[in-house]
C-alpha cells in the first residue's frame, strides 16, 4: 500500500558541510519527518517522494534512511533547486509525502557475506537496508563508502553503531574511489566463496556499471539501486523505464529501485 500524507519536519541536520563555493547550503542533510502512516509501512530499500516547487512539476524521490515506526529519516545532498529548498526546512514545516514506493530489498537465503558499496550520496540508500540486514541475518556485513572529498563524508557513525565492518575512502584525500574499495574488498582472503556473497551498490551510474562488470566477471551476485526521473512513482506513467539485457522493460518505481545488475542493459 502506498499513501499520500502530510509529514511534519521534526529536525533537519547538516551531516556534511559540502563546498561553500557551490552555494551556502551545499552539503548533505538528514531530515526527520513525522509520518506514522508511511513509517509503519516502509520496508528496507523503499523510497518516498516529496512535493517539489512550482517550476518543477515532478516530486523528488528519496530512499528512506531509517525509521522508528513514527518518523522516517531522509538523507540527501543538495544538487538542485528542490534539495536546496529542503535544506532550509525548519522544525514544524509540513511536507507532502508519497510512499512507500518500490520493492523492498531481499537477502539471498544462502548469503554468507553482504557487501554494501556506496558511491557518494549513494550511501544514503543503505541506512535502512543495513540496519535491517543486521537484524535479519548472521551473515558478515561490510559497508564500504567512497566519497569525492572530506566535505561530503557522512553517515559513518551510523553504520559503526550498527556493528558492521566499515571501510571508506575519499577520492581527493586518499586517491581511492568506491570501485577501488570494491577491488580491495575482493582481495580479502577471509571472504566466503564468491557464490556466497551478495553485493549491493548505489552511486553514480558509471560506477555501478563498473562494479557490475567486476561482479559479473567474478560471478558475484550484484544488486544495483537505479535512478530514473520519477513521474508518478506508482508504476502508472511508464516514465522510469530501465532496459534489460533480455530486451524487456522494467520500471524503477514498480520493479526497483533495486535490480539484479546482470539483467540490466547498461548501454540502454
Amino acid at each position: 500500500m502506498i499513501v499520500a500524507t502530510t509529514a511534519t519536519v521534526q529536525e533537519l541536520i547538516r551531516l556534511a558541510p559540502g563546498r561553500t563555493d557551490k552555494g551556502v547550503n551545499d552539503g548533505i542533510y538528514a531530515a526527520d519527518l513525522l509520518c506514522p502512516g508511511i513509517a509503519k509501512l516502509v520496508r528496507p530499500g523503499q523510497f518516498v517522494t516529496v512535493a517539489a516547487s512550482q517550476t518543477s512539476v515532478l516530486r523528488r524521490p528519496f530512499t528512506v534512511y531509517s525509521t522508528d515506526g513514527q518518523t522516517i529519516r531522509l538523507v540527501f545532498r543538495t544538487v538542485g533547486p528542490n534539495t536546496e529548498r529542503y535544506a532550509r526546512w525548519k522544525e514544524g514545516v509540513e511536507v507532502s509525502l508519497l510512499g512507500p514506493c518500490g520493492q523492498a530489498m531481499a537477502i539471498k537465503p544462502d548469503a554468507e557475506c553482504l557487501i554494501f558499496l556506496g558511491g557518494g550520496c549513494g550511501l544514503a540508500s543503505f541506512g535502512y537496508p543495513v540496519a535491517w540486514a543486521k537484524k535479519q541475518t548472521q551473515a558478515r556485513i561490510i559497508v564500504a563508502a567512497g566519497f569525492r572529498d572530506n566535505r561530503y563524508v557522512f553517515g559513518l557513525e551510523d553504520f559503526r553503531k550498527l556493528g558492521v565492518e566499515l571501510k571508506f575512502a575519499t577520492q581527493q584525500e586518499a586517491g581511492k574511489t568506491a570501485v577501488d574499495l570494491c577491488r580491495e574488498i575482493f582481495r580479502d582472503e577471509s571472504l566466503p566463496d564468491w557464490s556466497k556473497i551478495q553485493l549491493f551498490t548505489c552511486g553514480p551510474k558509471p560506477m555501478m556499471a563498473e562494479v557490475a562488470g567486476i561482479c559479473r566477471a567474478a560471478g558475484i551476485d550484484c544488486s544495483v539501486f537505479l535512478e530514473e526521473v520519477m513521474g508518478c512513482a506508482l508504476g502508472v506513467c511508464k516514465g522510469c523505464v530501465v532496459k534489460m539485457t533480455s530486451g524487456e522493460t522494467r520500471y524503477v518505481c514498480e520493479d526497483g529501485p533495486i535490480f539484479d545488475a546482470s539483467e540490466v542493459d547498461w548501454n540502454g
Binding site: 512539476v57 526521473v229 523505464v241 522493460t249
Partner: protein, 300 residues
C-alpha cells in the same frame, strides 16, 4: 455540497474532473480512496494498443521550466492483456470508465473498439494525438481524423470521445471533422511537440510532448477555439493544476476538465480541484454546476 453532476456524451459523472489518459492508474486511484477524498467524475485509462508495446528507450521524461516533456511511446500490455488483467479492476471502483485507445490506421481503431464492445465501460476515447510513436501525428490530418472517427463510429455504439492534438494550424477544423463524423465529445489538448538537446554534446536528450503549467495558456486558447467550433461537449485540459485553472477552462466553454501532469506533483490534486470548484460555485450563489453552465450560456 453543491451538485457537480455533469452528463457528457451520455456519460453521467458525479463531477466534471477526470484524469488525463496516461497519468492515472489503478495505484493512483487506490491512494485517493485510501485518503478518503473525492474521486474523479470518470476514470480514463492509459491509451491501449492492439499489440503489447515496450515503449521508447530512456530517458522518457524530462522536466523543463514549469513543464514536462514525455516520450513514453504508448508503453502498455496490449488490448488482450488489458481486457484480461486490468479492466475489471478499473470497473471495480464503481465510477464510469473511459478507455483510451490508440492505433495507426482506421482498421486498428475499429478492432480496438470492437474488443471493448462487450465490456461495461462507459465510453471510448480515441487518442489520435500521440506525438511519441513516430511519423506524423494522426490528428494533424483532417482527412485521416475523419476516416478514423467514421470507421470507429460504425463499429461501436459506445460514446466516442476524440482527443485532439494542439500541434495544428486550425484545431477548430479538426474538431469539426470529428463532430461531423459522429464523435460524441471532444477532449483537447494532448501535448505540444517539444525537444531538449544536451548543450555540451549536441545530442537530442528527448523529443516528445510538453505538458504541465507551461502549456496552460496555450491549451486554454485551443480549447476556447474548439468550444466555439463545435456543439458537442468538450473536455478541456492542458496544464490544469488548480481549481482556478479548471474554472478558466469551464468559462472557456468546456463541460469538464482533465488533469494530467499535476497528478504527478500531487496525487490528491483532482480531489482539491473538485472541492475548489464546488467551493467557488457555492460562494458565487450557484446551486449546481448545471446552473453555472446555463447562466454562462445566457451571458453570451
Amino acid at each position: 455540497m453543491v451538485d457537480l453532476t455533469v452528463g457528457l456524451a451520455g456519460i453521467r459523472m458525479d463531477n466534471p474532473v477526470v484524469p488525463a489518459s496516461g497519468t492515472w492508474g489503478i495505484e493512483s486511484q487506490k491512494i485517493l480512496l485510501e485518503a478518503g477524498r473525492f474521486r474523479p467524475g470518470a476514470l480514463v485509462t492509459k491509451s491501449v494498443t492492439i499489440e503489447p508495446r515496450p515503449g521508447n528507450p530512456p530517458p522518457r521524461l524530462r522536466e523543463t521550466a514549469s513543464g514536462l516533456i514525455n516520450w513514453i511511446g504508448l508503453a502498455g500490455p496490449g488490448i488482450d492483456r488489458f481486457l484480461a488483467d486490468e479492466l475489471s479492476v478499473w470497473l471495480s471502483f464503481g465510477q464510469p470508465v473511459i478507455v483510451s485507445i490508440a492505433g495507426k490506421t482506421p482498421q486498428e481503431y475499429v478492432h480496438l473498439a470492437q474488443c471493448l464492445g462487450d465490456t461495461r465501460i462507459s465510453g471510448i476515447e480515441l487518442n489520435i494525438s500521440c506525438p511519441n510513436v513516430g511519423g506524423t501525428i494522426i490528428g494533424t490530418d483532417p482527412q485521416l481524423t475523419a476516416e478514423i472517427v467514421r470507421a470507429t463510429r460504425l463499429a461501436t455504439g459506445l460514446p466516442l470521445i476524440v482527443k485532439l492534438t494542439p500541434n495544428v494550424t486550425d484545431i477548430a477544423a479538426i474538431a469539426k471533422a470529428a463532430e461531423r463524423e459522429g464523435a460524441n465529445a471532444i477532449v483537447a489538448v494532448n501535448t505540444f511537440t517539444a525537444m531538449r538537446i544536451n548543450p555540451n554534446t549536441g545530442q537530442v536528450i528527448i523529443s516528445g510532448g510538453l505538458s504541465g503549467p507551461a502549456i496552460m495558456p496555450q491549451a486554454l486558447r485551443k480549447v476556447w477555439e474548439v468550444c466555439r467550433a463545435v456543439k458537442i461537449p468538450v473536455i478541456g485540459m492542458g496544464g490544469i493544476a488548480s481549481a482556478s485553472d479548471a474554472l478558466e477552462f469551464l468559462w472557456a466553454g468546456a463541460s469538464a476538465v482533465a488533469v494530467g501532469t499535476a497528478n504527478f506533483g500531487n496525487p490528491l490534486v483532482m480531489a482539491e480541484i473538485i472541492e475548489g470548484i464546488a467551493g467557488w460555485l457555492e460562494q458565487n450563489g450557484f446551486g449546481s454546476l448545471e446552473e453555472f453552465r446555463q447562466k454562462k450560456a445566457e451571458c453570451r
